[in-house]
Amino acid sequence: MSSYGHGIPTGWRRWVFSTNHKDIGTMYLIFAIFAGIVGGAFSGLMRGELMEPGIHFLTMFTNGDVSAAKHFYNVLLTGHGLIMVFFMVMPALIGGFGNWFVPLMIGAPDMAFPRMNNISFWLLPAAIGLLILSTMFEGATYPGAGIGWTAYAPLATSGQPGPAVDLAIFSLHLAGASSIMGAINFICTIFNMRAPGMTLHKMPLFVWSVLVTVFLLLLSLPVLAGAITMLLTDRNFGTHFFDAAGGGDPVLYQHLFWFFGHPEVYILILPGFGLVSHIISTFSRKPIFGYLGMAYAMVAIGVVGFVVWAHHMFSVGMDVDTKAYFTAATMVIAVPTGIKIFSWLATMWGGSITFETPMLFALGMIFLFTIGGVTGVVLANAGVDTSMHDTYYVVAHFHYTMSMGALFSMFAGWYYWIGKISGKQYPQLVSKIHFWLTFVGVNVIFFPQHFLGLAGMPRRIPDYPDAYAHWNYVSSVGYMITGVGTLFFLVGAIMTLRSKTLVGDNQWGEGATTLEWTLSSPPPFHQFNELPRIK
């Protein structure tokens, strides 16, 4: 192969100057694991503080200063949200698995713009670097930006005048630029580089999911970029976009943010939907049920996802008819989501199912996402949301969809494809322990949070009235269980890379029908020099 001038670069050049989709995908995965550990540690500090009433955990990090500890809590919740969304889930699902497997699945030699792929990745370490830097600069009296991942004005403008918030905004700018470039790259790749014979309607569902996701990114991220740039000029250059005293409107920021923010949550989960479809089909040894319905359900979720944003803002004092519209539009999303859940069940129906670790995570995802889905229908109703808005019920809901939906599909994808990526077998027992500890742990964390939310506990508070102590304690115990589970993941990952057991080209047998399984494990540095033909 090197005779084509495609020699494999060696040493640091291979990674820093990489234009290879698989190497870049690997770097994305490593980056996401690193960011996940940081974001997970942040949530651990928060659950540590919330384990008992009173503020006496975070004070350990602030020399006993209670006031600084309260601000530190806000910095942690901001960092946790931003890191998990922009530096963990998106890099893992889109950057990592997307980069690795979209070209392989469509029979393409690489991404359409390999050099742009490189900068898409390398902007991310810079972006997370700025975010980490922001924790060392003044926000409001104390270091760090304590504005929530939503960065609502005026808290993010006049509320926290120090440079920390500017750094956090720059971090989002870079992460956004990285994702927009990635999105363009995927769109061009999927539209132009499919193997001969692979029509859109023959494309694997994971590729469909990434295609829908990157369109959402392309259309929503510029709005976020605009909104946070307006924050920046409000902060530094005397504009009043979001300042009522100067004729601006703080609620405008929320509209702009959620116009991005709501598609963003589908960006986080859609690739997971795609992945789970493959895994369910593979381990049921049956083709996917209702392929077209599955593909267009994702398209429908993407389209409707753009017209429901204000359900995050039911308490800002919108007109009652507007609330009624957003209630109705939001509930519509339950229909395509239901189609997906039922199609997965129908795929398994009549199948010959084996319960390998990726299948366990995929099944866990389906079940837990169902719970997150039904509480989503509850929250969609503006009338009930009056009681739920900004309580732990919301926290429970979106963690069931994200921390269980997205995270479980990521782990499912990891165990499904790590054999293909590394050529080595993951350890069976360790990976199953990882699944069970995580499954039990996340439920113990988040199920009681429904109770807290119904009982009225607000989100984003470092201390709570004593009545909420019991379920907060349980929730923190759940964190510890999940934490141990995560250790098993890391140990399992190291054991896999050091393993001597090799897997063949197609580790999963007849159920795995997509093109990546026709290649060696790991695939050659450059694949498909001769394009495969799809009948």
């Binding site: 009433p53 309260k70 806000n74 409001a140 104390y142 939503t150 609502y152 005026p154 808290l155 300042d243 009522a244 005293a245 409107d249 703080p250 040894r285 049956k286 049920f289 209702g290 308490s315 004092g317 009652v320 609330k323 209630t327 239901g338 189609i339 859940i341 069940l345 009549g350 199948g351 010959s352 199912i353 084996t354 099944l363 169902t370 719970i371 039904v374 509850v378 503006a382 009930v384 009056t386 009681s387 808005h389 900004d390 499954f439 039990v440 439920n443 199920f447 109770f451 119904l454 009982a455 009225g456 607000p458 984003r460 508070i461 470092p462 009235p465 004593d466 009545a467 019991h470 379920w471």
Partner: protein
């Protein structure tokens, strides 16, 4: 099995929510109780309606979750590799696909009708008997009684010792609090001076953002005397968790006596226009 555990929790959740929330704590204080699973004890018709609508939704939630769970359980038993070594190749069933598209639509329509009813009940403000204005500040609330002598006062959270002395729950008691008459429609006007806060009173089914430069309104008609608590419900900075809301609902006579006292005790608001405008501006740093 963890599935079993979830099932138990769901059942417990269902039952306790249906049976209603917590009772009153000591000395007429209404708030959440330890280990509570459902809503707080409602004090208004709106909150009772929210609870009953939510309980209906809960049946849907539990029904759908159980349905998916039972199907999955059945599939695991019936279609595992041992029980069913040769998989079928079915990939389509038009009837089934139409069914699982239309059935959820019907369920959603059934939900939508009472949902809209509830929404309009909450949001259309009836003729009110008195108006109270709440102004969010970092990190306390200012209250004004515009149609009762226009007095104004701040409500600041009591620290741990003060709270113990006043026998008020930790993080919830404030030095001053608003007093409203029972069974009267109170219109709340809500705004803020610096950043966005949110005025929430769970037992009344009320939560609305306090936004600088904007007047929001909501209402409640408390049906039972006692002390009710809420907390700021929009992240507003360092002490977001420490600006509680305390409302005392009393009889008409007690209310009138309180108004008399309050007019003397609390400073009169200057009706000077400039001051009013200034109070709407974000604090200058």
């Amino acid at each position: 099995m963890s599935l079993n555990k979830i099932l138990c929790a769901v059942t417990a959740f269902l039952f306790t929510s249906l049976l209603g929330g917590a009772a009153a704590l000591a000395n007429g204080i209404f708030y959440a109780e330890p280990e509570q699973l459902g809503f707080m004890e409602p004090a208004t018709q709106v909150m009772r309606d929210i609870i009953s609508f939510h309980n209906g939704l809960l049946y849907m939630c539990v029904g759908v979750t159980l349905f998916v769970m039972i199907l999955m359980g059945y599939i695991f038993i019936k279609f595992n590799a041992k029980a069913n070594p040769t998989p079928t190749t079915t990939t389509h069933h038009t009837g089934l696909e139409i069914a699982w598209t239309t059935l959820p639509i019907i369920i959603l329509l059934v939900i939508a009708i009472p949902s809209f009813k509830l929404l309009y009940l909450e949001d259309v403000i009836p003729e009110s008997d008195l108006t109270v204005k709440a102004i969010g500040n970092q990190w306390y609330w200012t209250y004004e009684y515009p149609d009762n002598g226009d007095f104004s006062f701040d409500a600041i959270m009591l620290n741990e010792e003060e709270g113990k002395d006043a026998k008020l729950p930790r993080l919830l008691g404030t030095d001053n609090h608003i007093v409203v008459p029972v069974n009267k429609t109170v219109r709340m006007i809500i705004t803020a001076t610096d950043v966005i806060h949110a005025w929430a009173m769970p037992a009344f089914g009320v939560k609305i953002d306090a936004i600088p430069g904007k007047l929001n309104e909501t209402w409640f008609k408390a049906e039972r005397e006692g002390i009710y608590y809420g907390q700021c419900s929009e992240l507003c900075g360092k002490d977001h968790g420490f600006m509680p809301i305390m409302v005392e609902v009393v009889s008409q006579e007690k209310y009138e006596a309180w108004i008399k006292m309050a007019r003397e005790e609390y400073a009169q608001i200057k009706t000077d226009n400039l001051t009013q405008v200034a109070s709407m501006l974000p604090a200058q740093k």
